[in-house]
Subunit: 689 residues, 2 copies
């Protein structure tokens, strides 16, 4: 699927409406009106065997009868005719929208029809949006190829929605909020064109500055990660992703049948791909508003100026736990401000211009902040008795235009600020109703900008073919022998290939028990692929102090687990216990999981996730930022563990997952780590296929 | 200050405006217009020595010249004349509003003037609002006794604001949101009438159903707790409390000079008093909207019905981490729903009525939920092509009125839903713009309702006079001896009085070192009020295993700390280490602090706060809910520690703080606790005066 072809779908020179109609209440009628009456300049053809004419225009009996080229066909016909219609026309028409419902969202029969169409599309090189979708709208070319009514303002926001109804509601809301769109696309069942294809396409769409998506599921996690990471370097992607809880997963399943995926892993994926996640509908709209009108913030420091101390205080609160911060105002600047402003003003940041402030004080403060090179200015205003609201708005606009500052107005009020809001809208300034909303949106924009600055190239995991074939040999042998898991010894051998040390260990037999090289104290373990919960069943004995205890324990264990292999392991001190492993995520595939082990594992749930591919440096950064980062930063005066060593282990796990795709479950629990240069070592290793 | 007198202030029969004027731009002019032209029915007098007449009305030279009774005088005159004016009139007028600024907010001189007025008020039994305030507005009696213009709608919300400008902005915003008020009160410097007095007064005000406050500081924490706890049993108090960060504290100080207090302790105080805390301006308005129009939710389960799957999915997400939940719909009800609704509908909760749903489906679903006794129904709607928005709104209103259900509409859109919003407003239903906002507000309302159900009486701490005099004896003796802290032995004796055991210990001297009754291993400690950080300076030796080591350590310690007392302590095992103590909060006084001790103290920061008074039962509940609750709930199959025993220790600390007010700092660190019926014991005790 390439961009040129997607362009034919979303900016067609000619459209055929299959199922065109003039009966009230029919989707075909709405489509006819939307496409012919809103200003679309391309050729339009109607297709419906029940009509000869619709209005003054000829109606064709079939797509194939149209004598001219058709770039896009929109199908609003019963589901059962869809496949046949496409098949017959597939020599002539390459792009389709299937508006019709009744496919995979309805059950097995529908799913089969959908699969048949998808196969057809692959074979014939077709591009199909839907089925079960609203269609799309391209306001810049006045094309409404959907059955939602009206034409939103043309602008630079591309909005992709997995819910047609929500798209309609947001379009209606957007009018009030003065949002303007390059494209609005309803994806429906995402049979062939899903979020990944659209992000890629919109990433290259010159009319689009911001890509906003409402998603319930992600179709192909790996592809999404790849595409979104690349597009995020060019333009911001904002996603309102539903599915935060198990209950939501059920609701989504009954709604679109999509798989919502673990929300925490979704967060990790979004961060990795530089995607801005909106937490709710309000935030989503606020982000689109800001991002479509403003350049990305070049710095993380901000200033607040206000004519109401209380509003300034609320703004200061809104910076709590944020990565953007209130700038320090220099002593010189403060001195200048004191000269300009009345003596009771506050010249700290927030700068309080006092309740009787007019445009002169706003202007003076803005000019001074500009001299001070403090960007990102939030201009707060409450409409007090004497406040000349419109004049102040005009002053802010002039300052913003003259100096290219990023000035975000936060005028708080109702009727009294309506005039000011109009002034802002006309001049592409965006007013926020509360300081919290403005500051929250700017922070996320800034985080995206930092992503873009720091991630100019995407990491790649290299396959080491020798290592791969050696580890595959061990695993395949076990599979051949019908084992379900590797023994500890085999697991340790595989880990060694990946540079991860296992604790000293040795098989124990009646013959060699006298001559073990592992010193006391040691542990005895049943090393079996069927007895995975050794501890519960008495398959693990710790603290064996001498030969006598060793022999006794060994013989008892042989009796309890006849025929099983028994191994001895050194029992050593640790600084901290870590658990780590690989979880197969249904959306993103293998995910590296690591966290604090030992008695606090389940209490503190300090678990972290990583998605491949990552560079060693990126992993190290994440480890230090993670919930167990304290271990690697030397908290409380204790020496720090080696973050780089640990990052190498995590990278090794990524390599292992990539090179050994049969592995279904993988755990090292515990891994002992140290803060005295001792090498980390795996004490238990589970590799299950 | 009693209610009757407050009533004279806020519902006066007669008002004198001191500083009345007719010059444009003067506050005195705004006051004259506000009080005489908006419909206030009481007597009004003007006072200003510069005028004989203002308009057609006589203007008096001084308050004292007015021949009739004056219930309230509003002063809008320069600060320097205020005290004199009040003093002269204090025989005649008992209630004042000081609009004038220039008092404690400006520095020392202003503060002195304010203190003088406060003294006067106390001596003469006056009630004074302000200084440095906007005044107040009482829409039900059409009285605007402030210099904000206009008269908001009369309703049941009392709004108290520590920021006049924010009050004006919110009034303007409120018009748009259709909020209606019983009182709007600007408190200014809170010289005499602060949040506590107003909460008490408004608690008894029949016109007020909800009390909303914007606060930057709390004047008297103890009084606030007492008053708010009582009023919360009658009506909800919603507070937007600024001051979440250290930076905000600075901003507040430069704004009103108020002390913002530790935000975490503020949260504890609000929870204890049943106060609903709004996190930001939007949430504050949403809460006022819901609470002023709806009865408190009687149950914690909710239903969502929607015509858009996507909106239902977002609503489900909004229940994440909430105490209110989506109700299970019974199998019978689902069966009924399936009969009523099209086959593709979802009859799970959220109930998806599908995109073509009209009023009949909404009605059927609402009726069924009523039969099912599921309250708290969120009615979601997106305006799709065919949706009869107004008809559905009318149906929802009828259902809500007929059945007394708590139906909260969430119509998402812009122009297309304007008509529906009008229908809701006229019928006292409140529409929310997003499911998140509606569900968030309802949850907080429900939590308040539960507070009211569970806290019908307020706890009292009893003073035990014998225990008090014994502990005071020990502390006073130490103070007399000019010690700054109690020795461990003295601390242990005091703790014993409060039922807290200390670890076995004994003084060690050259004479008794042979005959110590504490077994090995033991610890040696310097027990001094000047060497508080024993560990750092070598004043603590652990793991002394025999007499020889004991003698050696003792002699070394004597050399290192000549003349200091040395004690031996038993060295015992523990299950967990706890730190606990008393922190003196500048607003709320002594606060009990407890958390996880040992190596994870600073990493996990599992610290909790408690405010006295509390009953043993209340403390136990809090302990189980606290960040270290896992210790008392037997996580991971481990036996639980005794929550009741630990609650008794915390209650003892509350008693100790109350009975020994000289104590400036108090710490037990660590306290060893057990899960095997062993008694908890204090290993180190610091009591500093």
């Amino acid at each position: 699927m390439n961009n040129k072809k997607m362009e034919n779908l979303f900016a067609p020179q000619s459209i055929a409406i299959v199922g065109a109609s003039n009966k009230k209440g029919k989707i075909g009628t709405v489509l006819v009106n939307n496409i012919t009456k809103l200003g679309y300049q391309g050729k339009v053809y109607f297709v419906n065997p029940s009509y000869k004419m619709i209005g003054l225009k000829k109606c064709y009996q079939a797509l194939t009868e149209i004598p001219k080229e058709v770039e896009l066909a929109i199908l609003a016909i019963p589901a059962k005719f869809v496949c046949e219609t496409i098949e017959q026309a597939s020599g002539k028409v390459k792009n389709f929208i299937i508006i019709s419902a009744g496919f995979s969202e309805t059950g097995t029969a529908g799913k089969k029809m959908e699969e048949k169409i998808e196969k057809l599309a692959r074979e014939k090189g077709l591009h199909i949006l839907g089925p079960n979708c609203l269609g799309f709208i391209a306001p810049p070319v006045k094309l409404n190829a959907s059955f939602a009514t009206g034409l939103p303002s043309a602008g630079n926001i591309a909005f992709v929605s997995q819910s047609g109804a929500l798209a309609v509601a947001l379009m209606d809301k957007a009018k009030k909020e003065h949002l303007a769109f390059s494209k609005i696309i309803s994806v429906g069942n995402k049979m062939q064109i899903s979020e990944s294809e659209l992000i890629e396409y919109l990433g290259n769409d010159e009319q689009t500055k911001v890509i906003g998506l409402y998603l319930e599921g992600i179709k192909d996690g790996q592809k999404f990660l790849k595409v979104a990471s690349q597009v995020s370097l060019k333009k911001p992607i904002v996603i309102l992703k539903a599915g935060k809880t198990a209950k939501t997963q059920v609701a989504i399943a009954s709604h679109t049948g999509a798989l919502a995926g673990s929300d925490e892993i979704m967060d990790v994926a979004f961060e990795k791909a530089g995607v801005i996640r909106a937490n709710d509908l309000d935030e989503f709209l606020n982000l689109l508003k800001l991002l479509s009108n403003y350049a990305a913030p070049k710095s993380s420091t901000c200033a607040v100026i206000t004519n109401a101390g209380g509003a300034g205080v609320l703004a200061t609160d809104a910076f709590k736990d944020k990565q953007i911060t209130l700038a320090e105002i220099s002593a010189i600047a403060k001195k200048k401000l004191r000269k300009i402003l009345p003596s009771e003003s506050s010249v700290e940041n927030p700068i309080d211009l006092l309740g009787d402030a007019q445009e002169d004080r706003y202007q003076a403060a803005l000019e001074l902040l500009h001299q001070e090179k403090i960007e990102n200015v939030f201009c707060l205003l409450t409409p007090q008795g004497q406040t000349r609201v419109a004049k102040i708005a005009t002053t802010i606009v002039a300052q913003a235009q003259k100096r290219g500052l990023d000035i975000v107005p936060v005028f708080i009020g109702g009727e009294k600020i309506v005039g000011a809001l109009d002034i802002f809208i006309k001049n592409k300034l965006v007013n926020f109703a509360t300081p919290e909303a403005a500051i929250g949106a700017l922070e996320k924009y800034r985080i995206w900008q930092q992503f873009r600055e720091n991630n100019s190239k995407v990491s790649v995991l290299k396959i080491d073919s020798q290592r791969k074939s050696l580890s595959q040999e061990i695993i395949k042998k076990a599979i051949t022998e019908k084992r379900k898991a590797l023994s500890f010894a085999d697991g340790a051998s595989v880990m060694e290939l990946y540079g991860i040390a296992a604790i000293a260990h040795s098989d124990v037999t009646a013959e060699n028990i006298q001559s073990l090289t592992i010193g006391f104290p040691l542990a005895l373990k049943v090393d079996s692929d069927t007895i995975l919960h050794k501890t519960d069943q008495g398959g693990l004995r710790l603290g064996i102090k001498n030969e006598e205890e060793l022999k006794k324990s060994f013989s008892e264990m042989q009796t309890a687990f006849p025929g099983e292999k028994i191994i001895a392991q050194a029992q050593v001190d640790k600084f901290a216990e870590i658990i780590l492993g690989i979880k197969k995520d249904p959306i993103f595939g293998p995910v590296i999981v690591y966290g604090l082990g030992g008695i606090y594992t389940e209490i503190f749930k300090l678990v972290n996730f990583l998605l491949a591919p990552m560079s060693l440096k990126e992993i190290e950064t994440q480890v230090l930022k993670s919930k167990i980062g304290f271990l690697f930063k030397g908290a409380r005066g204790q020496k720090a563990c080696d973050a780089k060593e640990f990052a190498k282990i995590l990278l090794a796990l990524m390599n292992f997952a990539q090179e050994n795709p049969q592995v279904a479950e993988f755990d090292i629990n515990p891994l002992f780590i140290y803060n005295d240069k001792q090498r980390a070592c795996a004490v238990d290793i589970k590799i299950i296929f």
